[in-house]
């Protein structure tokens, strides 16, 4: 497989399993949690891929595995043409210049005993980079770019609000001008008015530096706002991947339909006349996933074949991939709970 020059990330058949151990002194491995079970995706320079799904679908584990914060069980991860799947800890250090991460909780991601200046300058120190004009000037420039007051260089994280702390995390992530930033639920802890500010900031930085984002989130509206393409995960699998507008206007996987129909939209007239599917029950256990298609136990379109044969992710039209034996174009009236 040749890597196109503008492709920044290629993930192939990534699997991350966690062992389940028995209780007692001899902790034998008695099973595996298949958190991520064979996902493949690519990301181009300057592009944003949204990765959405509900809790337990494996989206965060996938994001962490891609940056090698969690050890993948199988598959390959190529960053900017280089296979990083099995690199040692020390060999990963230079990789961090190219790929950074922004975390969900701006309260836990920053060391409370370090000043903002030392937090944002950490990448320079770790990587031994000497920015022209000195570290302090570089850090203050970064602070200005993310909308923080550069004079607050010597303050501590507890002196900042949640939104400002997320800006500190963003400044740290862009310090070395990475080509990829993995964002794990970066705005879900923020109030809507602050969330919008941070989404705009991420967008501006992308336009300025051409950084690519892998944007992990559960909020489908936020993902529509920021992404160029969207991948939907369910129980460790990508079940559908499509350009943004296609995903939101003409999805094909029954799970995507259910998910989109469950999100209430801030428009009373339209919301109260939308067709909706209520999924029955809860997510199956990833220790013992259903045979065949993982979604079949809650699917309105499931048939005999779905329990026998796992559907592969196939391209229905250019760029639109669906893992389903019986893709649907709309929610059938017979299964909607509200017409």
């Amino acid at each position: 497989m040749t890597t196109e020059p503008h492709e920044i990330l290629r993930v192939t058949d990534l699997r991350t399993y966690f062992p389940v151990r028995s209780r007692g002194i001899i902790q034998r491995v008695v099973g595996q949690v298949k958190a991520v079970d064979g996902i493949s995706l690519t990301l181009d320079a300057g592009e944003t891929l949204g990765l959405v799904g509900e809790s337990g679908c494996g989206k965060s584990t996938a994001a962490r595995s891609i940056l090698r914060l969690v050890k993948p069980t199988g598959g390959t991860i190529e960053l900017d043409g280089q296979d990083i799947t099995t690199l040692s800890r020390s060999a990963l250090v230079p990789i961090r210049r190219k790929a950074q991460m922004i975390f969900q909780d701006p309260y836990n991601a920053l060391n409370p005993r370090h000043t903002v200046g030392s937090i944002i300058s950490a990448p320079f120190t770790v990587q031994g980079v000497k920015p022209p004009g000195g570290v302090r000037a570089a850090v203050q420039d970064l602070m200005g770019r993310v909308g923080l007051n550069p004079e607050h260089y010597n303050r501590y994280p507890n002196e900042f609000s949640g939104g400002q702390r997320q800006r500190i995390g963003i400044a740290r992530a862009i310090a070395l001008r990475p080509k990829l930033i993995v964002c794990d639920e970066p705005v879900s802890a923020l109030d809507v008015s602050i969330q919008a500010q941070v989404l705009n900031l991420l967008r501006d930085l992308q336009q300025e530096f051409g950084v690519a984002y892998l944007f992990v989130a559960h909020d489908l509206a936020v993902v529509r706002q920021i992404s160029n393409r969207v991948a939907v995960m369910y129980l460790g699998h990508v079940v559908e991947m499509a350009p943004r507008k296609v995903m939101y206007t003409s999805p094909r996987h029954p799970y995507t339909h259910s998910l989109l129909s469950a999100v209430p939209i801030p428009d009373p007239q339209r919301q109260r006349t939308r067709r909706r599917i209520l999924l029955e029950g809860d997510l199956p256990s990833p220790i013992n996933p259903p045979t065949g298609c993982v979604f079949r136990t809650r699917c309105f379109a499931a048939q005999e074949r779905c329990s026998v044969e796992a559907p592969p992710l196939i391209e229905l039209e250019p760029g639109h991939m669906v893992a389903c034996h019986f893709p649907v174009t709309e929610i059938p009236a017979s299964v909607a709970t509200r017409a």
């Binding site: 509900e54 809790s55 609000s161 939104g163 400002q164 109030d191 809507v192 008015s193 602050i194 969330q195 919008a196 500010q197 989404l199 705009n200 967008r203 559960h218 909020d219 489908l220 509206a221 936020v222 529509r224 706002q225 943004r244 507008k245 939101y248 206007t249 259910s258 998910l259 989109l260 129909s261 469950a262 999100v263 209430p264 939209i265 801030p266 428009d267 009373p268 007239q269 339209r270 919301q271 109260r272 909706r276 209520l278 999924l279 029950g281 809860d282 709970t337």
Partner: protein, 352 residues
């Protein structure tokens, strides 16, 4: 919605001039500042606002859940024909769980981890009614079934940790409703849940409400949920209600600049994106040091239209601009309607 009227035709729940203050080392925290609202029987009022807007404290004050040693509560809360604020804790405790129930965001912290879920519901019955052991068990099993728990007979003996988050939330709804309260307050009942489970829970609350005629106050930060279930909406900011309107009207013809800011900040799942969102600049005010005039003035882009320093120094009152629609803003009515119409048109401009 109407402001409290004479007692003869008083709405089912009416709150007038409710204020809650917490003395702290750093000064007096004005958590709730003069909230006045009312809800008719069987209706759903949503209170929306961001963190620190005072929406949860308002709910807790109505339920009598605030510890009077730490909270200074003033104002009146009338539930049907009873005033709650002037009652003793003992009296309010009798009302709680029987006449009014509450659902919280996190079901795990409201269910006791050591007791079987069925027994916890039985206890809720016994606290207010004396019925036999078998009758109580029968009633609990029936309630667990009604809130959508499969095999309720078996689940009766489960401990909370054996249930999923969605099921725990169902158990809590069952517990809140077991004594058929006339008022149900749901404080962010689905915030900790996934959207597909959230849809199940919202449907459950609506259908139980239709069945029993319960009056619901829903506290949320999610404008989508409000659009889905509320009859009326109160928008809170900095401890004050800044706009109150019937749900449809609030989305179609909002007037208060903060409401406009909220509506323009929300990313939309049902529309192709604008290039950039239009967020409210700045940060919410500190509840210790609230602005002297309008609480929203420091972030408001329209206060110069009013002119002078009116917005910064004079506290606007919640005034009725149309029957049922109340706004707390110094902007001239025609002016704010013109601004709002532009924004609403722009928001509706790019359909999917």
């Amino acid at each position: 919605m109407a402001l409290p009227r004479a007692s003869a035709d008083r709405p089912f729940l009416s709150v007038s001039d409710l204020s809650v203050r917490f003395p702290t080392e750093d000064g007096l925290v004005y958590a709730v500042d003069g909230v006045t609202l009312s809800v008719d029987r069987g209706k759903t009022l949503a209170i929306v606002g961001e963190s620190g807007s005072g929406k949860s404290v308002t709910a807790q004050a109505i339920m009598g859940l605030l510890d009077r040693r730490y909270a200074q509560v003033s104002g009146e809360v009338w539930l049907d024909d009873e005033e709650l604020i002037s009652q003793t804790e003992e009296q309010v405790r009798h009302l709680r769980g029987s006449r009014m129930g509450m659902i919280f965001q996190d079901p795990m912290s409201s269910l006791h981890p050591f007791y079987r879920v069925g027994d916890q519901l039985v206890e809720a019955i016994n606290a207010h009614r004396s019925i036999g052991k078998t009758a109580a068990r029968r009633e609990v099993v029936e309630m667990l079934g009604r809130v959508g728990i499969q095999a309720p007979e078996r689940r009766f003996d489960d401990y909370p940790h054996q249930l999923s988050g969605g099921m725990r939330q169902r158990v809590m709804i069952g517990m809140a409703l077991i004594n058929s309260p006339a008022l149900l307050i749901a404080d962010e009942p689905t915030t900790a849940l996934d959207v597909t489970i959230q849809a199940q829970i919202l449907d459950l609350i609506s259908s139980l409400q239709a069945e029993t005629g319960t009056t619901v106050i829903l506290i949320t930060h999610d404008l989508g949920i409000v659009a889905d279930v509320a009859d009326e909406v109160g928008v809170m900011y900095g401890g004050r209600l800044v706009e109150v309107a019937p749900t449809g009207r609030l989305y179609e013809r909002p007037e208060m600049p903060y409401t406009l800011g909220l509506l323009s900040s929300v990313p939309r799942m049902d529309r192709e994106r604008p290039d950039r969102l239009d967020p409210i600049p700045g940060n919410p005010p500190s509840p210790i040091n609230l602005p002297a005039g309008c609480v929203f003035q420091p972030r408001c882009t329209y206060s110069q239209i009013v002119g002078g320093d009116t917005c910064a120094t004079v506290r606007p009152e919640l005034t009725e601009t149309e029957p049922g629609h109340f706004v707390r803003c110094h902007l001239p009515v025609t002016e704010r309607r013109r601004i709002a119409a532009d924004i609403v048109r722009e928001l509706a401009g790019s359909p999917r």
